[in-house]
């Protein structure tokens, strides 16, 4: 099958073109010569099946960042039949250098000048025929977003594929080092073919930025926008959650229970109470997760992420992170998973890992559910919001502490130089496609982990068969007993310990687990817990739950995004250790003070 490599600088609408070509039927896969996974899709072009690979956006073929190496290694070990090079027409003056670098590699090339709609708006004109003649390459104007120019470009690609593939230049490096030659050629071609008006007008972006990046108002506006987006997500997501919950419950009653009624009770228990209920509880959270993915996509694609980076970098750089990391941290307060996946925009691996180490400490919406329940059970109506707020402070505090402690270990060498693109309002189609791809990727990966975790927890809390479920006689109970020396100094009793084991899968299961353990639910459960614990024990438990380990979906994401088991282990170990230390400090100090 013939291969097309899609190449271009970041921010050229490469993904939009890729999605337009593959229609969302893309998959992530491994390629010889590189350790990163790349997105590729297969389409029918000119009568043949062709594979298109989306290579990372790079500024310079001869650069030092991870992405630039990936592209070089890929091209070297997987010579494409065609390189489809995409440039941003409005920034062609500086982007042509990449095209000229690629031209020197003797590849079969077709060039598309994307964002032609924006160029027209700015008054930039390009003599495509002249440029094509001077460079001896097929060049087409295109708007991947709206589709104009697309059929012609694709026809040219199909035609170019019919020629045999030239080989790669032997001395790749020395070819790439001809920067000076490139500069003179660039100036020569641009002078004859591109007209840029004296004053570039993008008044909309400038006007918006004068507000968004206002020296006094910028930060409050940023927090306001984030707050509104969060509210929006919950406003839309909670009804959806309710619907999913009801649907899953109905399905269980209407279809599964009758289906399994013939099986022995233990098998029924495993399938229904264990696997189905466990997965259903997590599945009910999926609408919220999807909305956060969309949220993240909007922030990135609209260009607002760069503005947020500008506003927050002063603080973040002192923690060894960068401005964009703040947005991801904030996202983590909704759900850790899209936040972790959002770190892909960071090109520096060290920075990415440090950010990923910090994100799971965010007080996500699942943990919030647990805290709301406990604060309602153990604190007065006036004290409860203050207690919740204090937990948020702990979350921020431990995040900052972790960044400060580990920034030496994950030292970042990549310079922080970011483009501030014009505001772009993505089309609904673009966003849903992107949101769908990310969610599908996440679901495929997380499902395995979650099912495995749910089965394990069910087994631990229901075996041996003679014991009452989730009681002290089960294996989970025995584990809880065995861990008593670990949990007693932080004020956590055995029933809560068993609930923590459940919480390993997903935090929202903790309340359901307590219901099983105490045999009560709702207000009765709250009452029982309120009688058994005092506020010091409850707060210590909440601190531990905030920090100890993130949910299985997050762990799965940490592993697949970092691809280093050592790193995932570090994250888990650090969270557990930190949780214990913080709870211990709180509990012992509170008791010592006589509370």
């Amino acid at each position: 099958m013939k291969r097309i490599a899609l190449l271009g600088m970041p921010n050229t609408g490469k993904s939009t073109l890729f999605n337009r070509m593959t229609g969302g039927a893309a998959r992530v896969g491994n390629w010889p010569g590189i350790t990163v996974e790349l997105l590729s899709g297969r389409i029918l072009l000119g009568g043949d099946m062709v594979e298109i690979i989306d290579l990372p956006g790079i500024y310079d073929l001869h650069g030092f960042s991870d992405d630039e190496q990936v592209v070089r290694h890929f091209l070297h070990d997987n010579v494409p039949d065609l390189a489809l090079v995409i440039l941003n027409t409005t920034q062609i003056e500086r982007q042509m250098s990449l095209l000229l670098q690629l031209k020197q590699l003797d590849l079969n090339i077709v060039v598309v000048l994307n964002m032609s709609d924006e160029a027209k708006k700015f008054g930039i004109s390009v003599d495509v025929n002249m440029m094509s003649a001077m460079l001896e390459l097929p060049i087409f104007l295109l708007s991947a977003k709206y589709g104009s120019g697309y059929p012609d470009a694709m026809q040219a690609v199909a035609k170019a594929l019919r020629y045999p593939t030239p080989g790669m230049a032997e001395e790749l490096r020395s070819q790439l080092e001809k920067d000076e030659q490139i500069e003179t050629e660039m100036a020569h071609v641009l002078k004859s073919t591109v007209q840029v008006p004296a004053q570039l007008s993008d008044s909309l972006t400038e006007k918006l930025d004068s507000v968004m990046l206002h020296p006094l108002l910028g930060l409050p506006i940023f927090f306001g926008v984030m707050y509104l987006l969060f509210q929006g997500v919950f406003f839309l997501g909670q009804p959806l959650q309710g619907i999913v919950n009801d649907l899953l419950g109905w399905f269980r009653g209407a279809a599964l229970e009758p289906l399994f009624s013939g099986l022995p009770p233990s098998a029924q228990g495993l399938l229904l109470d264990g696997i189905y209920n466990g997965v259903a509880t997590v599945a009910a959270f999926v609408p919220i997760i999807v909305l956060f993915f969309l949220f993240m996509a909007i922030v990135e694609d609209s260009g607002y992420l760069s503005r947020a980076a500008f506003l927050m970098d002063a603080l973040m750089s002192r923690l060894g992170l960068d401005g964009r990391g703040f947005v991801m941290l904030l996202m983590g307060f909704g759900c850790n998973v899209p936040a972790l996946m959002g770190t892909r925009v960071m090109r520096s691996r060290a920075m990415r890992l440090l950010t990923m180490l910090v994100i799971p400490l965010s007080l996500c919406s699942a943990r919030l559910q647990v805290f709301i329940f406990f604060t309602a059970a153990l604190f007065t109506a006036q004290a409860a919001p203050v207690v919740l707020f204090s937990l948020y402070l702990f979350s921020f505090g431990t995040a900052i502490l972790t960044a400060l402690l580990f920034k030496g270990r994950f030292k970042n060498n990549e310079p922080f130089v970011l483009e501030l693109p014009p505001y772009r309002f993505p089309t609904v189609r673009q966003m849903t496609l992107r949101g769908w791809l990310e969610v599908r990727h996440f679901l495929r990966r997380a499902t395995k982990f979650i099912v495995a975790g749910v089965v394990l927890v069910w087994l631990l809390t229901n075996l041996p068969p003679s014991a009452a479920p989730a009681s002290a006689d089960t294996w989970a109970g025995l584990i809880g007993n065995a861990m008593h020396p670990f949990f007693a100094p932080i004020g956590i009793n055995e029933q809560l310990t068993i609930a923590l084991i459940f919480g390993f899968i997903a935090k929202e299961i903790v309340i359901g687990a307590l219901a099983v353990i105490y045999g009560l639910s709702g207000d009765a459960l709250g009452g029982a817990i309120g009688h058994q614990l005092d506020w010091v024990q409850a707060y210590s438990f909440m601190l531990f739950t905030l920090l100890y380990t993130p949910c299985l979906a997050t762990i799965a994401t940490l592993q697949s995004e970092s691809k280093q088991t050592g790193f995932t282990a570090l994250s888990l170990g650090w969270s557990l250790g930190l949780a214990w230390l913080v709870s211990f400090a709180f509990y012992q100090v509170a008791r010592a003070l006589g509370y």
Partner: protein, 77 residues
């Protein structure tokens, strides 16, 4: 006109890039984003609390930290 660093420009000022005194990784990244000797650069705004700077070269807006901006010398036209 004597050369000063990029960080000393005020918002609204336009200058010409004289030289970039940076290590290779930063140099290549700046080159790719359009920073070249002789090019015009405009200071758009500076973030509070010694945060990054927003500059404009040609049709591209870039943000960079002050520590990196001190490595770029410019002269006011």
């Amino acid at each position: 006109m004597s050369a000063i660093t990029l960080t000393t420009l005020h918002p609204g000022e336009i200058a010409t890039i004289v030289a970039i005194h940076a290590e290779e990784a930063l140099h290549l990244r700046l080159l790719a984003l359009g920073f070249r000797s002789g090019k015009q650069i405009e200071m758009i705004r500076k973030a509070s609390f010694s945060g990054p700077l927003q500059v404009r070269i040609g049709t591209t807006d870039i943000l960079l930290r002050r520590i990196e901006a001190t490595k770029i010398t410019v002269t006011i036209t």
